[in-house]
Subunit: 540 residues, 2 copies
């Protein structure tokens, strides 16, 4: 290590880092050229503190906020997914957002460059988690667990380059389900595929297909085609791109960038075109070259058993053995799978178009062992649901069908047509809250009745209680439905009209209705109002 | 800026940073001295890949995993909190885990040093969020929103030094509720205090107290005591430590470190000892010195109004006006509050002991404006629940009472007493899953019946279906309760005994029971089993 003066290394690095950092061009307003930057920096320094914030107001590149509307959609999706995980007996687990940098090393192959590191501010070197699988394996090894069935819903972070992967996020949510433990072959694996089917069916995303392959079949295929063993993982990464780029381009990458002989690439090309069901598994058993590989035969044997279990689960027709499926991550050791949505409706006699992967996973029997000082292994198999793509589809569909989303769950609104009734409103709403009723009021001393009723309309609040001078005198409170669902829009219009008329009527006319709309507006004794609302909410 | 050769600044910084980084001492096994480190690094490099992972298996300092048991507790707590937020009409919102570094600048005063920065890997400079309030203000300004009532549950990160704040986490979960918008005074503020009361009551954490003060009263107090205006925020930070260190130490810090005249400090000392209810507010109105401050009078006026609303909400006796409450964060502008749990039972005639803050918040009318280029303000008030401390208390209580926590929700277990029944079990469990029933089986071809029943016992699974040769022949499936709740432990023992006897009985004896324990074990026709289980689950 070079000696650089008297300061300790770390202090030097910090000092120099500080001196050498260029001005923050990225975040300054419209400053593009060097002179503009210099000007903006000067201007920023000369301005008083309050006007200083002339940076672009945005979230970091590749990230986004979830608005209340989006939150409702996301929570519905997550609810369906987590319910399924719980239906299969999974326990919950949570791990920190960052791990020691070492924990993530040598796990992700070519993708390792996408890991976010934290700045060295003294202490440990940390990285944001890249997936939920490696933290799970670390947890298993750290707690010396031999088996566990767990789910984990959480954010992960990847420095994806938007030029390569457009539309991908740098912060996204993963929903993982994994089964760790030494069990009989293919039973947990089949359950993982069953879970993917249940979730994709439950989310009503249209027709889908799950491609299945096995790392051992891939490795066997590479070996008999003449790929040197040192290039297995690199060639795997190339094959993995087949769903994004053509065979021609993949072949070019393998030959030019990864130094594969053209005839070896062509032999691989013959295999990766194959896809089918159980019959293809049988056919590959008979393949004169592939059947020479012990590894490939093991993989094929397991796939055969897998198809037997998938048939018992009633999902075999959703599964396709696809020799082009490779999966990018380094840690897979056995069966791998990836679910794709099919464009619907598919034009007759045409193959349905692949609109992208929404779930994936596989077997990784070596990962927990990588964290164990003695290398003790815990076999694992699991799956990960890609929520962002599902979210986009569901959001798009809701827009198409013009579905209106309620962003609050408020059941009752506390209103008044008169001035100086804040005290009464506050007393009443506290009673509602204390009874567990979801209630709101406007934070104004003297709001207009129409403003209050419009708020209910806009927010989709079903019930409104109205208290005024007359009601206070008579010891009653008016309770009305904001919109009578049975009678639809016209009734709602009438309601609003009524409310507008009421606004200009003298207080004395706010008496209980005579019976023409008994279901939508009644006067309830003050002491019974909570019970009455609870009854109404229970009935609806 | 100094010119250092031909490389661009950023490349230089990266290169030097790399050269100067010391070896990763922290994460290597038991290596402490320099020679040990060198040896460990060398050994690590010479070892084959599999044995290389000789780092300590741990989560980063100040972070932790949540085990399935802990997840259940955490989710129950979060459920109570979120239900309350929804009861008050809040919408959900989510923001990224990190923000542009600039967004967090000048928001946290002396605490800014605790912000986690991300490493500069090219592109934007980023920091992990320090709280949920600043991202909320950024969201409001970015979307040009004028009002919003939102809740946000999410992790935040702070590089707390464990020597100062023991037991604090560097990653922790916050539950925030905020009301943004220009409303009539103290109505949203009172609702925030009501929410804190509802949540702390709902969580059954014992007696609590909410301290209330106002930044304007504090500033007025500082002014009339003779604190220079430039030192207001710094003195605020010192006062904020009064719940952790004595007045003597705070006074010492103010005089020695922050350069306050001793007599000024003593004048402050007279005030910060004051705490009480509405009567103290009235008393302060009469205070000959404080009443000279226009700011302080405004704060006192608002506090008086606040107490009026708190009385209507029925929570005035939980609130204490406390002149020593200061809150550390820079952005507060008006009322501030902090909820503390009181040690129960408090010894007679002694003041109950403060066991720590579990919720806090206040008014911050300037924060959104800091993000607006023209400084347009959106007044805000909000609260944050500190889940970690609540979690520790609930977890401790559950340990004390020996409450057993179920970590899964499985309703039915599919078992067999015989070999070669995997196919039948798989077919049956798929039917259960498809009917929405939470079901599990063991991932073994031929598990022992006792192992299966023990699994049910351990996991608290209420129902077990048993299928064997005889049942298959007769077209029935046995359904039994794992533990009959009405009959308690003795019945459970009999069940297990029976199961052990059955294990060694010939299959033919597995006929439907004759009626002595009809509620716990019955044979159901194969085609009716799903409906029967659904009926049982609905009834229980």
């Amino acid at each position: 290590m070079p000696q650089l003066g008297l300061l300790p290394g770390r202090a030097w690095a910090a000092l120099l880092g500080q001196l050498l950092r260029p001005p923050r061009v990225v975040c300054l307003g419209a400053a593009h050229s060097h002179s503009q930057v210099a000007e903006a920096v000067l201007a920023s320094q000369l301005k008083p503190r309050q006007e200083k914030s002339n940076f672009i107001l945005k979230t970091p590149k590749g990230t986004r906020d979830f608005s209340p509307q989006q939150m409702v959609v996301r929570e519905k999706i997550l609810d369906i997914i987590v319910s399924c995980f719980k239906r299969h007996g999974a326990k919950g687990l949570d791990t920190p957002a960052f791990e020691l940098k070492e924990m993530l090393a040598e796990k992700y192959g070519e993708d390792s460059g996408l890991i976010y590191d934290l700045k060295d501010q003294g202490g440990e070197l940390l990285s944001l988690r890249y997936d939920l699988t490696v933290p799970f394996a670390r947890y298993m090894a750290m707690n010396k667990l031999k088996k566990m069935k767990r789910y984990h819903v959480g954010k992960v972070w990847r420095r994806e380059s938007p030029t390569i992967a457009q539309g991908r996020y740098r912060e996204f949510c993963q929903c993982d389900f994994d089964i760790a433990g030494d069990f009989d072959p293919m039973i947990p694996d089949a359950e993982c595929l069953k879970i993917i089917c249940e979730i994709l069916t439950g989310l009503q995303l249209g027709d889908f297909l799950i491609k299945v392959n096995d790392r051992r079949i891939l490795d066997g295929m590479f070996a008999i085609c003449g790929v040197p063993e040192s290039k297995f993982r690199a060639i795997c990464s190339s094959i993995d791109k087949l769903d994004k780029i053509s065979w021609k381009d993949v072949r070019h990458e393998m030959v030019t960038e990864k130094g594969l002989a053209p005839e070896v690439a062509d032999r691989i090309g013959d295999y990766v075109q194959c896809h089918g069901g159980l019959s293809l598994v049988e056919q590959m058993f008979q393949d004169p070259r592939l059947s020479q590989s012990k590894q490939a035969l093991e993989g094929l044997g397991d796939l055969k058993l897998l198809f037997e279990y998938l048939t018992l689960f009633g999902i075999a027709e959703k599964i396709c053995f696809d020799l082009s499926l490779a999966r990018g991550l380094d840690y897979y050791t056995g069966v791998i799978y990836e679910a794709v949505l099919l464009q619907t409706p598919a034009p007759a006699e045409e193959e349905p178009l692949n609109v992208g992967s929404v779930a994936a996973g596989g077997r990784y029997d070596g990962l927990v062992g990588m964290f164990n000082p003695k290398g003790h292994k815990v076999p694992c198999v699991g799956l990960s649901i890609g929520v962002e793509r599902i979210f986009s589809i569901v959001e798009q569909r809701m827009k198409t069908f013009g579905e209106k989303i309620r962003t609050t769950e408020t059941q009752v609104f506390v209103a008044t047509p008169q001035k100086n009734f804040l005290q009464e409103r506050l007393k009443l709403i506290a009673e509602l809250w204390d009874a567990g009723i979801k209630a709101e009021l406007l934070y104004k001393n003297n709001p207009k009745l129409l403003t209050q009723l419009h708020y209910c309309e806009n927010m989709g609040i079903p019930l409104v209680v109205i208290i005024g001078e007359q009601e206070l005198k008579e010891g009653v409170i008016k309770l009305r439905s904001v919109a009578t669902r049975e009678e639809g829009g016209r009734e709602r219009d009438r309601e609003l009209e009524t409310s507008m008329r009421e606004k200009h009527r003298p207080a004395a006319s706010c008496t209980p209705p005579t019976g023409d709309v008994p279901a939508t507006k009644v006067a309830i004794k003050r002491e019974n109002i909570v019970a009455e609302i609870q009854k109404r909410l229970f009935e609806s």
